[in-house]
């Protein structure tokens, strides 16, 4: 029900580079897990609403006012690479 090509596609969507051996192993493992997941098909849920919030939460609003937040220097402190006041990344547009 799930083949290596599908798994490769999913890995691309998830931005995961997988080696061939890993791809093969994951295909087999996902096949087993999805086989188990089939269990869900036994239930009739045609009349059931999906759970969005498990407890009745109302929309949470607050006033839109400026408040102190993490300063730029502090936010950049954890950066792998930075340039002036920005995060630095490899080339985006070829």
């Amino acid at each position: 029900m799930i083949n290596q090509e599908t798994v490769k596609n999913i890995a691309d969507l998830a931005r995961l580079h997988l080696e061939t051996a890993e791809l093969q192993r994951l295909t087999k493992e996902l096949e087993n897990i999805l086989d188990y997941v089939k269990k869900l098909e036994k239930l009739d849920v045609s009349q059931t609403q999906p759970t969005t919030h498990v407890l009745s939460l109302k929309n949470v609003f607050r006033e839109d006012r400026v408040q102190p937040s993490l300063g730029r220097d502090l936010a950049l402190k954890t950066a792998v690479a930075k340039h002036d006041s920005s995060f630095k990344v490899p080339q985006v547009i070829e």
């Binding site: 997988l18 098909e41 239930l43």
Partner: protein
């Protein structure tokens, strides 16, 4: 007097109040035990600088050290979720629970071991290696908050914080013979908790007894505008709910939890627990949670989907690891993302990201994620109905005692099934506690789980306290034979 590190938080607070000890005495005792034991147990992954200034005992404050799971941000202290992808990450802020503890005068003794990103039930998926069970070093501590549970069990911590997405506080508490609480969804702010599955995650206490759990929950619970899912519901004084009386309380025993795969020793311990509570005047009744068999599968669809989305942020840009492809391969920003994630995540994390991405992807969404969320509604409806019939529900915390290290690592499904009794509380958003209820023949602890309706932690504590006060289990300590105990 017994060594300070072996006392409960409420016993220590009483000694502090009577001015018989200083906060620094407690810190010394904990540090000494860590030095003796942690090389064998490996409960901690990073130790923190004791914040001496915080050791001022004032009325109503709580100047005790606490161990914190490695997925809660502590300002300036390395916080990694036990993942290579976050090594070296020093958060520039405190999680709300940490800020509240600091305000009460607490210091953090350190960050504790866990399954990478809390994905696991044994703490074997940590990039630092497994924690060992203080009751028998060949056995797992459970997970994912295994380091926190082991630190408390081995008296390497006064108490600890864990997080629970499908049983990650309660199952390790059960395996290590300590108390673990998963509060109602929204009871405790998750601001600064590194997210796994946002509709399920809750932070909660891991402690030596029920009184301490009530005390710690009071400190960390309450509304926080930084977590829009935190409930704006007043926090009661949980000490008031520590009543040694269950007379006329209706306790439900769900028949679906007492079938296949339940270890006979666990079954016997449960029957004894039920008999004890009956002898104290509780009205025991069989109840039914008919969708129980769908809990594990629903959980693995909902939790992995949310995890795959939450873990999208680890891309090598703002923090943590950045890995570039080898020079021979082309290299743009996408390659950097893919390589960083390939190197930074362990096998179980990749497996869950893959399953979650699959069930959210176009063409599969309706059959998996949406269907999972619908079945979740059925599971929640089961509990709504049961709590019109009874005040609390009792089950084992786990179908077995702790298993051996390495025994289940090659079979993801068998590992997932060790959470079969705890997952339902997360899916339904309800509070649940695990308390010690005996030992297996091999001398490994067993746990009793008590679940109540949303925000009914007081009822949960009352039943747990009554059981605890009438049994000896919470006073048992593992016989830790290595090292010299030269304190106390």
């Amino acid at each position: 007097m017994e060594p300070l590190n072996s006392l409960t938080a409420h016993e220590l607070l009483a000694l502090l109040k009577a001015k018989k000890i200083q906060p620094s005495d407690i810190q010394q005792s904990i540090i000494s035990q860590i030095k003796d034991c942690d090389q064998h147990i490996k409960a901690y992954v990073h130790f923190h600088e004791p914040v001496k200034a915080a050791f001022n005992l004032e009325e109503g404050t709580c100047p005790l050290p606490i161990a914190v799971k490695d997925n809660m941000c502590v300002n300036g202290e390395e916080t990694t979720c036990c993942s290579k992808i976050l090594k070296g990450f020093h958060p520039p802020y405190d999680a709300t629970v940490i800020a509240r503890l600091k305000k009460a005068g607490s210091v953090m003794s350190g960050h504790t071991n866990m399954d990478e990103f809390a994905f696991g039930s044994s703490t074997e998926n940590s990039c630092y290696g497994p924690t060992r069970n203080p009751w028998n070093l060949d056995y797992v501590v459970g997970g994912s908050s295994g380091g926190s549970a082991a630190a408390v069990a081995a008296d390497e911590a006064v108490w600890a914080l864990g997080s629970d997405t499908g049983g990650s506080i309660r199952q390790p508490a059960s395996f290590c013979g300590v108390v673990g609480v998963k509060p109602t969804y929204g009871r405790v702010s998750r601001y600064g908790l590194i997210a796994f599955a946002s509709s399920l995650d809750q932070i909660g206490p891991i402690t030596k007894d029920v009184t301490d759990a009530a005390l710690l929950l009071k400190i960390i619970a309450g509304h926080d505008e930084r977590d829009s899912t935190s409930a704006d519901v007043p926090v009661p004084d949980y000490q008031q709910s520590l009543i040694n009386d269950v007379k006329n309380l209706r306790l439900g025993i769900p028949k679906e939890y007492f079938i296949d795969g339940l270890d006979p020793e666990v079954k016997i311990a449960m029957e004894e627990a039920i008999n004890l509570l009956r002898s104290k005047g509780a009205m025991i009744q069989e109840v039914s949670l008919p969708h129980t068999e769908y809990c594990v599968v629903t959980y693995y669809i909902v939790a992995t989907a949310e995890a795959s989305s939450n873990l999208a942020r680890y891309d090598g840009v703002r923090y943590g690891l950045r890995q570039r492809p080898e020079k021979t391969r082309k290299s743009n920003i996408i390659d950097m993302f893919e390589e960083t994630r390939a190197h930074g995540f362990g096998p179980e994390v990749k497996r869950r990201i893959m399953l979650g991405t699959y069930s959210l992807s176009s063409g599969y969404y309706d059959a998996y994620y949406l269907r999972g969320q619908k079945v979740r509604t059925l599971i929640k409806n089961d509990f709504d109905k049961v709590f019109t019939e009874c005040d609390a529900v009792l089950t084992p915390t786990s179908p077995t005692a702790a298993f051996k290290i390495g025994e289940r690592t090659h079979d993801p499904l068998s590992m997932y099934l060790s959470d079969i009794c705890t997952i339902s509380a997360n899916l339904a958003g309800i509070p649940a506690i695990s308390i010690p209820c005996g030992f297996s023949k091999k001398g490994l602890p067993l746990g009793l789980q008590i679940m109540t309706k949303p925000y009914a932690e007081e009822m949960m504590f009352r039943v747990a306290y009554t059981y605890e006060q009438n049994t000896p289990w919470h006073k048992e300590k593992p016989k830790i034979s290595f090292g010299k105990n030269n304190h106390g």
